[in-house]
Structure formats: structure tokens, C-alpha cells
Symmetry: C2
Subunit: 301 residues, 2 copies
Amino acid sequence: MMNRNVAPEARGITFTGSTLDRADQLRVHPERLSVAWADTRARVVRLDGLDPLPDDEGMLATGPIEPGARLADHALLGLQEDGVPLFIALHVEKKPHEPPVFPPKVWQIVPHLRPDQAALYAGARSLVDWHDRHQFCACCGSPTHPVKAGWSRQCGTCGAEHFPRTDPVVIMLAEYEDKVLIARGARFPPGRFSALAGFVEPGETIEEAVRRELWEETGIRTGRVDYLFSQPWPFPSQLMIACTAQALDCALTLDLEEVAEAMWVSREEVRAALAEAPDARFQPPTPVAVAHHMLRHWLGE
Amino acid sequence: MMNRNVAPEARGITFTGSTLDRADQLRVHPERLSVAWADTRARVVRLDGLDPLPDDEGMLATGPIEPGARLADHALLGLQEDGVPLFIALHVEKKPHEPPVFPPKVWQIVPHLRPDQAALYAGARSLVDWHDRHQFCACCGSPTHPVKAGWSRQCGTCGAEHFPRTDPVVIMLAEYEDKVLIARGARFPPGRFSALAGFVEPGETIEEAVRRELWEETGIRTGRVDYLFSQPWPFPSQLMIACTAQALDCALTLDLEEVAEAMWVSREEVRAALAEAPDARFQPPTPVAVAHHMLRHWLGE
């Protein structure tokens, strides 16, 4: 039996629609894991640093398990639909000056990946990068080592177990009188606007985080919040939670350290921007980003 | 201007409905933070280890800033509606054998807290516990110190900045022919059932995580997934994301290491359980847990 994971709600949102069975039961059964590792069909996903290496058909590069390679240095990503086990090496050769977030080169490669391969890449990149940045125990400072087929790390000294992070981020369009609020982040190029976003903090709900972020960054109060859809974002490992929020007023008071500009835009203005019309009022977010799909969804597309 | 954070969607779900303004702009402005610390009205929330200390009116115990106390040893939780700054000490005196999760004593105290105080407790507990378990840098193993008013830690050696964790967890009711699927976890007492749940992993959406967990733990396939509401869960720091999922079949194949029993229950059976009827088929989850509200929501309550 395979894990049929293709989601009705996946509307072509990048990094969604994985067809891999994560086969979590293998992670905690060393003998079953060894069988997967010994499978002559098993493949190892290859990355270029943390970047994807796609072939002409949009598939991620893979290779056989090299002679002498050790299971302990790899994570089991899961089983393909044909049952072939997929692994990835946990050691990453980071390139000099590799930007930790928003690597522009990756944004150019990702649209050429087959959707299920982009989803596979997202999980693999987040996992490998997490291992790279979590070699030591946050509790006691001692070295940790991968356990559970690369899905956690354990401290050799105090025994604490550490799991990969997934940081929930709310990203939202406030609505007011048939307009939505978009913003240009302090580090965005001129003209480029997107949805506002921020990390969910300990002790708050998704809806409370949406209201807090809109309040902090633009000074507007919001009532009802509706969840739209979500997206894994592997730079380094966010869960983007897309929402709309009903604004109770429209006067903006910007936090200029976070937001350079913000404006309410009409459906016509959003349509022109997405169509890249020469007289469009703003440049929309890249189709790789969930904000792009939020704007399309708002237009009813 | 105050942060009006009381949420229309907060249907009495424990740990939601905070009225605190987190005042994030103070965290990064040392001089504004010092003004808050010097405010003679400022209060420090007191905990008993990691447990709440409520008074007879359901308020968390607070005290003044003690002479000699250092701002660097405290986190700014935020500003009350009357503008009073609330801090908490970052050093926690953990009690011997303090259970890291599911502390039964806390579950007994929390229902006696005023809802906004329970929400305040949730954020404070998660934050303090995170500091306690993250004294060292995961990148290089060196000691870290609190920065940004206790909302992050920085490594004195490599400079890496670490933020408090919030781990997204999906919790779901699968529906099939007007019944929902509930389960008894392998460590639950006999008779006690709840909704299935699991951590969202890197590289998957909320909906994909719901389908994967149901598949892994009960062997059922699901189609449409709908988000219901969310809850912060401070044992130690989860974001519970409640969903329903439409099951495509009802035959169960349990992962017995995770799930001792699972069953499809009718509205009548859920109603009897929530009413604690003597002949009820199962004991429902505690009202503190979001699963309780998911069952009530399913009944249309």
C-alpha cells in the first residue's frame, strides 16, 4: 500500500504535492531500516551544497549508494511510489557565502523541477540544513549524533533528543472594502510588494498571530481571520500558513524598520500586477511564494 | 493604542484569548526596554517551577521587580491593557522529576485560571522552559545568552541567533458516514480516547501532515482536509492545528506502537461521552485540550 498524498487543495503551490511515503515506521526499526539500506534499488538524492541538481526532465539528481557509505551518515527520506528507498547524505558541503535564506539561484531552479520533486527537495533541504546547524546539544553543549534514520539527533552526554524544527509563520492579506493590504519589506527591491508575514510565537493561536503581526507592522486592527492554505518553505524550514483577515479600519501606521511601504490595492490593480502589465502599480511576489497564490485566490482564480 | 487581541474564533479554548500587547518593538530598542524595566508599576509573573501560581480570582501571581534584579535575566512578556509592563524571570527552579510534558497538576490548576491568564501562562511557560533547555549553541556548542528582551538567545562564540521553538502539530478528526475516528494512545489510560495528532515535518503542508498521520497511525486514506481552529499548547511549546479530514474508507490498520485502540463513533456516542453518561462508550479528552472542542464543534455546539 502506498501513501497517496497528492492533495486536492494543492493548487500548484510550489513545494506541495509530495508523492513520497515517509515510511516513519522504518525510522525506529533498525532491522527494517537496514533492509531498505541494503535494497539494491535504493537511491541517494544529490544536492549541490543546499541547492537542487535537476535533470532535463525536472527530476532531482540521484545516485546509487556508494561503496563504503554508512547508513548512520544518511537520512531516509522515504519510499517512492515504486517502493524504492530514497536516502540523502547528512553531511553538506556548504558553498562559501551560501546565503542562509532566499538564495536567488534556487528560486530560478525550482520552477523547473517537477512539482513532486520540488516538494521532495523542500523536505530534504530543510532536514540536511537542520543537521548542519544542530551538531551540538542545546541543553548541555556536547556533540549530538543523528538517530531514527536522520529524523532526530541525540546527545551523547545528557541523552536529550532534538527534533528538526518547523517554524510556523502566518502570512496574510487584510481585506477592507474590497481591497487587500500588501507591503514592501524593508529589504525588498523598489516596486516589489507581497503579503505581510511573521513567525507564530509561543502562546498564541494562528489567528492571534495574524492580528498581532498586522497590528505591529501596519497599525490596523482586524476581526475575523480565515485560513486559506499552507506551504512548506525550506529557507530554512518554515510552515507558511496563509490567511485572510477582515480589517476593522484602513489607516496605516507602519513599523518602518520592518515595512518600507504598504498600500491597499483593488482587484484590478492586483490583476494588472499579476499580468505584469507595464503600468501595474506594483511587482507581485514570485510564483514560488505562497503570497502569489494568495493574490490569485483573492481574485477567485 | 492597545492590541485588541480577543478573537472571535476563541470559543473558550484554553490558552487562547490573551489580552497582552507583546510590544515587540520594545524588544529591539534597549532604551525603550529600559524605560519599561524602570516603570514603577512593572510586575514580574511568578511561577512555581514551571507551574502556575493562581490567586483566588484566577490571576497569575505577580510581584514587583526585586531590588538588585537584572533586566538581562528577565523576558518582557508584554504590556497589560493598562500599560503595565509584565516581565518574567528566565531562570527556572525546576522541581525534581518535573515531567517535561503532560504535568497532571497543571491540568488541574489551569481550569481555575481566568482565560486571559491561562493564555499568558502558556506563552510564559513555553518561553521560560525554552531558555532553560537552550543554554548552549546548537551550531558550535558554546554558551548562549538571552537577547531581545528574552525573545532570542545569541551565541557568544559564533554569533548564531536562536529563536524560541513553536512546533506545529496537526490534530484531526477523520469523518466517514457521519462518524468520526477517535483513538486511545498507547500511553492513555483504558477508556480514554482523543483525536489523532502528530508533528508537522519539514517539507509538508498542514493538509499533507493530516493525511500522513492518519495513514501512518490508522491506515486510512483521506481526501479533503478542513482547518477548524488552533491552540497554543505549552507542554512544552506546540501549536495545535485542529482539522477535519474526509476518510475515503473506514477499514483500520493500527500502528500499535502509537495507537492502542481506534474506533468510529456516532454523534450520539460523542454526546454521551461529553455528558459523562455512565454507559458512554469512551471517556472524552479533558476540556483543557483542543480535542474536546473539536468533538463539541463536530456536534455543532
